[in-house]
């Protein structure tokens, strides 16, 4: 059973399950060759594994004239080099200053606009003005990145009192979505420029900003979000359940916390076209400023946004199953592969429970074939 390899794959992985591969060899309980299965799986993982490749930028099949994607391509011809040089000049000397100015205008007007609106007493006029300010500034910022966005299925756009859930590739995702609607942001309070923006916008529109210490308390977080959702006049919350930036080729495990709040979930799938620019933020390699610089010197940001029909938790479905259901829907729409792995593996080590599961499966096979009796836990399994 072979899995068809990705276009840029190094090897064809063998997906024969453990049972099939080891079992038919058995005459007695254990064979020396049993280790071959684990051995080969280990080596396949060393050469090419599903997880670590998601934390670095997607490799392109054909070059798009940006040095940063020129990993495996070699010097081809003089003409190509000349074209590339022209490209560099255009990108750095023409596009970059233009975009930078636009971005500056966008951010300044956002801060100024929301501060002014924030002075007004709460009323429907204030909400309307707040929306106008947010949308306009978003549009300016998207222009600043030369963003071309196609929105699909706008009839499914998130409504007030709901929760909007999307796959996460970069901080730009936020701007992409606010370009078409107003959301209440959820996130941590930052210092510096980000903090100024946060404190300004929260006066105009009820975003949910948490102190760093509050984030650790999951119940507190859930409680505040629940209160926000219960108020039907409040804007839909925007959450990225993966918890970290993934490189837009797959969707990783959705953390169940967002799905325990209740309410209606509006899933959104975001897929960037890598030919024009790499939107993925590899936070271990680049800090925010150099990331923004790279974005502003790409050709453009082209992406598709699909609004999926709303989902609610079914009877007897727990948060984890619900999270997986939503994840599948998003992955399918965006053409991304689905992975059960936790995005947190970018920084943390994998839990031992997975290894224990493999050990348990292997033990079952040993016991099943031999005449030793049941496993030492005393249960009569399968």
């Amino acid at each position: 059973m072979l899995k068809s390899p990705a276009a840029n794959g190094i090897i064809e992985r063998d997906e024969t399950p453990m049972e099939k591969e080891i079992e038919h060899l058995h005459r007695v309980e254990f064979e020396f060759s049993d280790i071959f299965y684990f051995c080969r799986k280990g080596f396949e993982a060393i050469v090419e594994d599903e997880v670590t490749q998601r934390f670095s930028s997607e490799e392109l099949v054909s070059w798009n004239l940006l040095t940063r994607t020129n990993v495996n391509f070699h010097y081809v011809s003089l003409r190509l080099t000349v074209v590339w040089v022209i490209g560099v000049i255009v990108r750095y000397c023409l596009l970059l200053p233009l975009r930078f100015t636009l971005a500056a205008i966008g951010i300044t007007s956002m801060i100024v606009g929301t501060t002014i609106v924030g002075q007004l007493p709460n009323s429907s006029v204030k909400d309307y003005l707040s929306e106008v300010v947010h949308l306009t500034c978003s549009r300016i910022l998207v222009r600043a990145l030369s963003g071309t966005i196609h929105y699909h299925n706008k009839e499914n756009k998130p409504q007030k009192g709901g929760i909007c859930v999307a796959n996460h590739t970069s901080p730009i995702d936020v701007i992409i979505l606010t370009n078409d609607g107003c959301y209440a942001m959820v996130g941590q309070v930052h210092g510096g420029l980000m903090g100024v923006i946060q404190s300004a916008t929260v006066k105009a529109c009820p975003h949910v900003w948490f102190e760093r210490s509050e984030i650790k308390d999951r119940h507190l977080v859930t409680k505040r979000l629940r209160e926000h959702v219960a108020d039907k006049s409040k804007l839909p919350i925007l959450i990225f359940p993966e918890g970290t930036c993934i490189n837009n080729t797959s969707v990783m495990m959705f953390k169940k916390g967002s799905f325990e709040i209740g309410g209606t979930i509006y899933p959104v799938a975001i897929k960037y076209d890598p030919q024009f620019g790499d939107a993925f933020w590899n936070s271990s390699k680049y800090n925010l400023v150099s990331y923004l610089l790279r974005i502003m010197t790409s050709w453009a940001i082209v992406c598709n946004v699909w609004y999926l029909p709303p989902m609610v938790r079914k009877e007897g479905e727990d948060a984890v199953q619900f999270a997986n259901r939503v994840k599948s829907a998003i992955a399918r729409q965006g053409g991304l592969t689905e992975l059960p792995w936790d995005g947190g593996l970018k920084r943390a080590k994998v839990k031992d429970t997975f290894k224990e599961e493999q050990q348990k499966n292997y033990s079952k096979m040993l016991v099943r074939n031999g005449s030793i009796g049941s496993l030492s836990t005393g249960t009569e399994s399968d």
Partner: protein, 181 residues
């Protein structure tokens, strides 16, 4: 050039694998440490993960360079038909059946005394089953296995006995990874 001759990989395969090597090398110093390997989740959850990682590191060393990396990987290159009839004078290729078996043998034989003792077998068994089987049951499995394979009655498995036990097994297929060009 040299790596190609020694390992038998093609030029493009070596380039891709070098790319992989550098992406694993977080310290960016041209060598891999044990931590670099353990960062691969699928390897970390493999019951034999630690043994496999050890196979890359030469005796007593903590770092492996690209050449060493390729040499170990070469054991898993599939055997091609045109190689079977190559000249007998040259050194045996790293991915021959015999070398693949030798590699597997070394996974068991920790103290490198060219024998798999009952204890060494028990260690590997324990790694593969975790906590799910009791010591007594595991012990009897080990005893039975050694009994079956042991021919000279020394209660340990030598490399020759190991080869004999596995003579009907398609080692070439089981210990090979399908590389794309």
């Amino acid at each position: 050039g040299e790596i190609k001759k020694e390992t038998g990989f093609s030029h493009s395969q070596i380039t891709r694998l070098y790319s992989r090597f550098t992406s694993l090398d977080k310290g960016e110093n041209g060598t891999l440490s044990r931590e670099d390997f353990q960062r691969i989740p699928e390897l970390a959850i493999n019951p034999l993960g630690d043994r496999i990682i050890n196979a890359f590191f030469p005796e007593g060393e903590d770092q492996v360079n690209f050449r060493g990396f390729m040499r170990t990987l070469a054991h898993f290159r599939p055997i091609e038909d045109n190689e079977k009839s190559k000249d007998q004078n040259g050194p045996e290729p790293l991915n021959s059946r015999s070398n693949k078996l030798h590699f597997a043998f070394r996974l068991y034989d920790l103290d490198k005394d060219d024998k798999i003792s009952r204890d060494e077998l028990l260690q590997v068994l324990r790694m593969m089953v975790g906590v799910n089987i009791s010591d007594e049951q595991l012990g009897s499995i080990a005893d039975r296995t050694i009994q079956e394979a042991d021919q000279d009655g020394d209660s340990a498995i030598s490399f020759a006995e190991f080869v004999k036990v596995l003579e009907k097994v398609d080692v070439e297929q089981k210990m090979s990874i399908r590389f794309l060009h």
